[in-house]
């Protein structure tokens, strides 16, 4: 079991938790040492995994999932701890590792209770990594829940503003989503199993493809709504602005950067892959919702005055784009969706990191009370502008690649309904420009609003490390998108085949 590389993605965070538990309560040095070591190890493992994956693929290994392993967990219900990765999950693991790494540095000076904070943070990352390596629906769901629960405490204890309300709202809405999800997963498992034994393995279910179409429709709605809540789909998105606004920096980063991606990932891995005929039949409902999400989030972001709210609504818009792309059900658009996940993950993590740093200095997030930060803290100002440009889809940044892939893929569906929504979605690039430039103009540029801010300092080394990591990744995808693009496209082949077969 331990010879499988993937399982270590869960074990390392657990070791991290154990290590943290051994640290003294306020022994910052030890806590940081554990966090930095383990997150670096994770990052190294993720990079190594990507290389190894590409090597194996290059060597002609064409099986759908690599590094597969499966261990019986609970015999009567046929639940396994089954792991395996394809190109998409590999990239998602890499993204998570990057953000955990950057998040560690972004919360360098967290207080109070640093140890407990990092403990929950580590638990959260356990859930995230576990989710992406699982190919057994039950363990997948379990890790999903493991990732959700720490959020409540992380926001409720270390948050700012109306944190109890937000934490409660976030947790309850996501739990509501997972109730739907649980129903959907149970339905899938029992309907695809045989002889009274449920089948949880995704590959096996897709292979059997034995779910009755009328049942598929119901289960599709359940699973898609369940994951859609986490993917901030309209009208289930309102946990996102409040939750993000109140969460501490690293949690916002991890949540918007990775956790919201769980939604999109689950949508295609389970809802669409396992229920292809329902996806063909019902995708229009969700295309309408996500299409609304895209434009709606962007318009909402235009009038917000709290930096985090702006970013949260922008996330609604961008994550709407992810689901929108996935619902287009063709290879190019879905590839774009995954690219958008990666891009949005990095970009929004960068945004939240920067907002946290700015807030840590100015103690306000209201853009009306700030201005001219470029003069006061040029490094952070420049980073903010870079993040902004990535968000509005500047070529050379990952956002551009992702959005263009989505648009060009989505345009492949040639009926009027799809066309209208694609064009509506493209409009978002203008609205995005409007709200991003509005913030940049007010916050970073312009005259200094508050004289007290003049004495503030620029970024420290750990903040620089955290931001540079993210910017390099953003630009890396933006400059050389093709290898990622190919990796993702190849991974979509089975899903697209399943969809083709279902027409």
């Amino acid at each position: 079991m331990f010879s499988n590389l993937l399982i270590w993605f869960v074990i390392v965070p657990i070791i991290m938790m154990a290590g943290l538990a051994c640290c003294g309560n306020s022994n910052m040095k030890a806590i940081r040492a554990v966090m930095v070591t383990c997150s670096t190890v994770l990052l190294g493992m993720a990079i190594w995994l990507v290389c190894e994956f590409l090597r194996l693929r290059g060597a002609g290994d064409t099986s759908e999932m690599l590094f597969q392993g499966s261990w019986m967990w609970y015999e009567p219900l046929n639940i396994h701890l089954a792991v395996g990765v394809d190109g998409i999950s590999v990239l998602m693991l890499l993204l998570s590792a990057i953000i955990v790494f950057a998040g560690t540095f972004a919360s360098w000076k967290i207080s109070p209770l640093p140890k407990n904070f990092f403990l929950w943070f580590a638990l959260l990352s356990t859930g995230v990594f576990g989710f992406f390596i699982s190919i057994d629906m039950f363990t997948m769901f379990m890790f999903y829940e493991v990732a959700l629960i720490p959020m409540y405490l992380l926001i409720g204890v270390w948050g700012t503003g109306r944190k109890e309300y937000s934490a409660m709202k976030l947790t309850l809405m996501l739990m509501g989503g997972s109730a739907f999800l649980m129903l959907g997963l149970l339905g899938i498992a029992w309907h695809s199993g045989s002889a009274g034994v449920p089948e949880w393995n995704i590959l096996q279910i897709a292979h059997n493809n034995s779910i009755d179409p009328s049942w598929q429709n119901l289960l599709f709605c359940f699973t898609f709504v369940g994951f859609g809540v986490l993917g901030a789909m309209f009208p289930f998105h309102t946990w996102s602005p409040d939750g993000h606004a109140c969460a501490p920096t690293a949690v916002s980063m991890l949540h918007a950067g990775v956790l919201m991606k769980l939604g999109g990932y689950g949508c295609f891995r389970i809802a669409i892959y396992l229920l292809p005929s329902a996806a063909q039949e019902l995708s229009w409902i969700f295309i309408i919702l996500t299409g609304i999400s895209i434009v709606y989030g962007a318009f909402s972001a235009c009038v917000q005055t709290d930096l985090k709210y702006i970013n949260a609504y922008s996330s609604v818009s961008h994550c709407g784009m992810v689901l929108f792309a996935i619902l287009m059900l063709n290879q190019t658009a879905m590839t774009g969706g995954i690219l958008q996940m990666l891009s949005h993950g990095l970009m929004t993590a960068l945004f939240f990191a920067l907002i946290g740093m700015i807030y840590g200095r100015t103690h306000t997030r209201d853009i009306r009370q700030m201005g001219g930060l470029m003069k006061i803290m040029p490094y952070l100002g420049v980073c903010y502008m870079i993040a902004g440009f990535a968000s509005l889809g500047l070529p050379g940044m990952s956002g551009f690649v992702a959005e263009m892939t989505i648009f060009f893929g989505a345009f492949e569906d040639s009926d009027l309904f799809h066309r209208i929504f694609v064009i509506a979605a493209t409009c978002s690039i203008v609205i995005t420009a409007v709200y991003i430039l509005r913030v940049v103009g007010k916050l970073i540029l312009g005259p200094v609003q508050d004289e007290h801010h003049l004495s503030l300092t620029d970024a420290s080394w750990w903040e620089r490390l955290s931001t540079v990591t993210l910017i390099v990744c953003l630009a890396g995808i933006g400059f050389f998108p093709n290898w990622i693009n190919e990796t993702i496209q190849n991974s979509f082949v089975p899903i697209v085949n399943a969809l083709q077969a279902a027409i």
């Binding site: 709202k169 309850l172 809405m173 309209f234 009208p235 998105h237 309102t238 946990w239 709606y296 318009f299 909402s300 235009c302 009038v303 917000q304 290879q331 190019t332 001219g372 470029m374 003069k375 040029p378 440009f389 509005l392 889809g393 500047l394 070529p395 050379g396 551009f400 690649v401 263009m404 892939t405 648009f407 060009f408 893929g409 345009f411 492949e412 040639s414 694609v422 064009i423 493209t426 409009c427 690039i429 203008v430 420009a433 409007v434 430039l437 509005r438 103009g441 970073i444 540029l445 312009g446 005259p447 200094v448 998108p481 093709n482 693009n485 190919e486």
Partner: protein, 661 residues
């Protein structure tokens, strides 16, 4: 020619951007400036070598049987959407891109040199040079694009560099809002361009792979342009609102060009963009970036010719814009704004010329795309003299510290070099022989008359207006009445330092002689040489009109006199409207601020907070309400519990008993 030089041409400015952008903070001004200028000089030399090799080496890959060829020096895959939609990054060399290489690097070099003096005391000098390098990189990438998607990529990048440079003085709110406006307006136009590209590439990539379009990437210019007439139009059969798909796609793509080139409904950003440093205005908003729209049309010219409706559209938009901008320019008082409107008007001129270009014989006379050649020629000469004018205006602003001509007057005595070069620029733009503008404008007007006499007459009128407003400005700045402050002030206006004067002199010299370049031999739509000959009637008419207009301006503005004011008071409404640019800004302000921002955005935000969020909170509130009600039963009063217990027990017993009976 190998691929080293082309790659260097793209890599050098980008490297400079990274070096100056990241390391600039640590550099001294002198080092940063020297680096920037040297790199740009090297770039210009390389571009000249490439252009010279292309035009004059006679290599078979460049010129075959007297026809200039389009060559892709390299073309590497950057991103593959589908098999047929592959985005490449490459280097396309053909007459117009070679010409643009020369224009961009020359003006860029001049501006680098000029800024050395102009920006000397500004904070963020290093940043400024970094942005200039970024712009140069993006613009070069745009003109050498091998496919429409590469063009779109660099199209966005020039937009961003323009944004950064307009907002260079980021502490001024006006500069910030101007940069924002420029970016958003052009972005809005780019949206249409993107949709146009989407439509075009979808239909092209869905033609059969063994059909006439072959299996090549749907974005490639050479593939698209090389199609025999009407193959595309007939292949892409679908229609929408009685226009063919291709018509719509081309018009949508042109809308992107309208945004960048500031054509009429989308022109509002350009006058505001004058908030940027003046050398930037010269480089971006006069010579290079704003002609991207013209370049786009020229690049897609064969496709536009397949769908003549779109050419008509271009002509109409161009003609209206040219006239509008010329009228507005007559009523501005900020010299940079006058130049900005003049730029809009001149670019519209080029657009009309392209719109009027035929590539087929009409009535037996083969014009060989005269309008195309003329438009490109004017692009070239205009870049030179408009950059000259802007840099001259920069020198004036540098001396007087104001953009406003009412603060100037009688400057000819104080600033002789600026005066002479500025005059040369004005003469060139007015189209006076032998300055460069005369030749290009003559060819354009000839093309327009060939198309229809109306366009010719209309544009001749615009040319007259151009001469009038340029000389109005010239006289108001250099003649009129000397500003009395100059005499009393100890800080008298004086000519600029050599770094600034040198570019002025060079550009003035180029403006004088550029008209004699045998442009038709070098740049034509199909690569075959076209022998330029002056169309005597057209030349005579336009020259007469220009001279008359200059005469009128001389009469009105050479000395201080009450006539201009009287004239203004005669038509106050007209003057006011022209001065306020016919209220376009107010209209836009109303739409964006009142309707979009206040009604739509605020409405949605309200909806989100109160309806969506309210629904969620409402669910919570209902749950809460229920639990509060139920909680009341859990009162803590033991007697109440017992009561409930016995009631329950009695009920249970009764039920059991009834059931047993």
């Amino acid at each position: 020619m190998g691929i080293t030089l082309p790659i260097l041409i793209l890599a050098l400015p980008f490297t400079m951007f990274l070096i100056l952008g990241i390391g600039g903070v640590k550099m001294s001004r002198k080092l940063a400036g020297t680096l920037g200028i040297l790199a740009n000089g090297a770039l210009a030399v390389m571009a000249y070598i490439v252009a010279f090799t292309y035009f004059f080496s006679g290599e078979a890959q460049f010129i075959l049987d007297g026809v200039r060829q389009q060559v892709q020096l390299f073309d590497v895959t950057w991103l593959a959407f589908t098999e047929r939609m592959v985005v490449n990054i490459g280097f396309l060399l053909d007459p117009i891109s070679a010409m643009m290489l020369v224009v961009i690097t020359t003006i860029s070099f001049m501006v680098h040199l000029y800024s050395w003096g102009y920006m000397e005391h500004e904070p963020g000098f290093q940043r400024y040079y970094a942005f200039l390098a970024l712009f140069t990189f993006s613009m070069l990438g745009l003109v050498v694009a091998t496919n429409i998607f590469q063009m779109y990529i660099f199209w966005e990048l020039v937009g961003v560099s323009s944004y950064l440079l307009i907002g260079f003085f980021y502490k001024l709110p006006s500069a910030v809002s101007a940069s924002k406006k420029a970016f958003i307006v052009t972005r809005f136009a780019d949206l249409f361009m993107l949709i146009g590209i989407l439509v075009l590439s979808y239909y092209v990539s869905h033609t059969p792979a063994d059909g006439p379009l072959g299996g090549a990437s749907a974005f490639n210019f050479m593939m698209l342009n090389a199609q025999p007439t009407n193959v595309l139009a007939s292949t892409l059969g679908a229609t929408f609102l009685s226009g063919s798909v291709l018509t719509w796609a081309m018009i949508l793509i042109f809308v992107g060009g309208m945004g960048k080139s500031a054509m009429l409904p989308l022109h509002i950003w350009l006058p505001d963009a004058m908030e940027g440093p003046t050398p930037v205005s010269a480089l971006i908003h006069a010579a290079t970036m704003v002609v991207a729209g013209v370049y786009l049309v020229a690049r897609f010219f064969p496709l536009y010719c397949i769908v003549p409706d779109s050419l008509t559209f271009i002509t109409v938009v161009g003609a209206i814009t040219a006239f509008y901008a010329a009228v507005v320019a007559c009523a501005q008082i900020d010299i940079k704004r006058i130049l900005a409107f003049s730029t809009i008007s001149q670019i519209a001129f080029m657009m009309v010329a392209l719109g009027c270009a035929y590539n087929e014989p009409i009535e037996g006379v083969h014009y060989s795309g005269l309008g195309y050649m003329a438009g490109m020629f004017h692009l070239f000469t205009h870049a030179m003299f408009k950059a000259l004018l802007f840099l001259g205006a920069g020198a004036l602003i540098h001396a007087v510290h104001s953009n406003d001509y009412t603060k100037m007057g009688g400057l000819r005595k104080y600033m002789p070099i600026t005066h002479i070069t500025f005059l040369i620029g004005c003469l060139a733009i007015a189209g006076i022989w032998p300055f460069s503008g005369f030749f290009s404008k003559d060819e354009m007007l000839a093309a327009m008359f060939n198309r229809h006499w109306f366009w010719g007459a209309w544009m001749t009128m615009v040319a007259g207006l151009t001469a009038f407003y340029m000389f109005r400005m010239y006289y108001l700045v250099f003649w009129w009445e000397e500003n009395p402050e100059y005499k009393t002030s100890h800080h008298k206006p004086h000519d600029a330092p050599w770094q600034m004067s040198l570019p002025l002199i060079i550009l003035a010299a180029v403006s004088c002689v550029a008209g004699f370049i045998p442009f038709g031999e070098l740049v034509t739509y199909n690569g075959e040489p076209y022998h330029i000959h002056i169309e005597a009637p057209v030349a005579a008419t336009s020259l007469t009109v220009a001279v008359l207009a200059i005469g009128l301006a001389t009469a009105m503005y050479v000395k201080k006199n009450p006539w201009p004011t009287r004239l203004k008071n005669m038509f106050p409404a007209l003057w006011q409207a022209a001065h306020r640019r016919f209220y376009w800004d107010e209209i836009y302000m109303f739409i964006t601020h009142n309707i979009i921002f206040n009604i739509i955005c605020r409405g949605i935000a309200w909806f989100d907070r109160h309806i969506i969020d309210g629904a969620m909170d409402g669910m919570a509130a209902v749950t809460n309400w229920c639990s509060v009600r139920i909680k009341g039963m859990q009162s803590g009063t033991v007697t109440a519990y017992v009561r409930w217990y016995f009631i329950g027990a009695v009920l249970l017993a009764a039920i059991t008993w009834i059931c047993l009976l």
